[in-house]
Amino acid sequence: MNHRTAVELALDRYLADRGERLPDRVLEETLTAIDHTPQRRGAGLPWRLQPMSNPLKIALAVALVMAVVVAGSLLLQRQTALPVAASPSPSTLASPSPAASAPPSSTPSPRATSVPSPAPSLPGSAFAAGPLEAGTYHSTAFTPSVIATLPGGWARAGEDRELLRLKRGNVELGFAHKAAAVAPADAHGTNRGDPNPPTPVTLGAFSGFETSTTETEGTLYIDEGLRAYDAPPGTGLHTWVLDVDGRVLTIILTAPMAEIDAAVDNARAVLETLARPG
């Protein structure tokens, strides 16, 4: 008898098909990347479907260990023969880009292709995936473009048409659009956890209001524009809702409660640089 437990039945429902579709943009970017990606032929082990037996695994592991030992001793012999080892170049160490430490490859990174070419009228560089050097950046997929000047230490963790996410340590700053007029009640009325009353604010070229709260449990509704915020209990949240030329920009900051005050100050310093495109 095929007896399914309550948890299994709940998982069946939770993971059921909902007809999700891969955005055409992603498929097109992937196929463009593939146009420049060579196939690997010949060398290497072909993919196998059958799991290896344990004796074979052990034999391979022993062979691998021996190869490492032999290679290591050869390397040591070589190092003792060389009087001075070359030190790494300072330019390599100074670069925050992960690509700087990656081995050269003829294959373009998919993430590199996911950032469209910057529009000429936008100041600074496009937010590229990964660590960002101090400087001015603009969003590309997320429009209208967010333009901000960042100190060092931030990284772009994601960008699409709906959401731009920046991260610095445990602090996350998310930019989302809301398709309704700016009204404090929109955010205040739908937040759970008894947020502080919203207060008017002007940041860079834009005005709106800000509010803060602490997530206690369940899903925290930020607004009615399809976006909801879900954070672990005890997370500190601070929200800015700005009127960007008639379009609502919701900016959500999360950080551990112990860091929230400093995080808000740091984020505010970034948001005060928000500028209009063109």
């Binding site: 989302a176 399809l226 209990p233």
Partner: protein
């Protein structure tokens, strides 16, 4: 139908691979979305998986196993994506605009919310095995074939994933009860 196209793609035919990507893209995205719980990370994982698949395709021995092979590449891409961004402590996700229309709907949403939070507590490896079983409907033996692990390992991983999910749900219930007590 796939076999001939897979063989063409393995010989370097980019149009054939494009056709395969179009056929399998939505399914790959749905799997990645369930494992990673984040649209842009799921998109990145699918993109990386398809590029890896293109690169490695000439080394696939049995074209009939293309889909299973592709799923393994995707799961590995999800692990990699998860490791790359595992410092994230929160996620923004889409919810329906309208609230629940009936008490039953309300209960269903509450259950959904609880299981969602429980699922997010699991490591990506356990999420992946649950997705392969509950979304793709794979048996432990098929999961073993897809992930390239022994049957017994697949069975025990699935067992532990269910157990972890049960524990996560219990932990969620306890914290919800504690919050209710505090509120009273």
């Amino acid at each position: 139908m796939d076999r001939a196209i897979v063989e063409q793609a393995a010989r370097g035919d980019r149009d054939a691979f494009g056709a395969l990507a179009r056929v399998h893209g939505d399914r790959l995205y749905a799997i990645a979305l369930r494992i990673l719980h984040d649209t842009s990370r799921a998109e990145d994982a699918v993109q990386q998986a398809l590029i890896n698949a293109w690169r490695e395709l000439p080394r696939l021995r049995d074209a009939d196993r293309f889909e299973s092979w592709l799923h393994r590449i995707l799961v590995n891409a999800c692990y990699e994506e998860s490791r790359r961004t595992n410092e994230w402590t929160s996620q923004i996700r889409a919810l329906p605009i309208e609230g629940p229309s009936s008490p039953d709907e309300s209960r269903r949403l509450a259950e959904q919310d609880e299981i969602d939070r429980g699922f997010r507590r699991l490591p990506p490896e356990q999420r992946a095995i649950l997705v392969l079983h509950h979304y793709l409907g794979l048996t432990p033996i098929e999961i073993a074939g897809t992930l390239g692990i022994p049957d017994g390992t697949a069975r025990s991983r699935l067992h532990y994933a269910h157990r972890a999910m049960r524990a996560a749900l219990e932990a969620e219930s306890r914290s919800a009860a504690a919050a209710e007590e505090l509120a009273q």
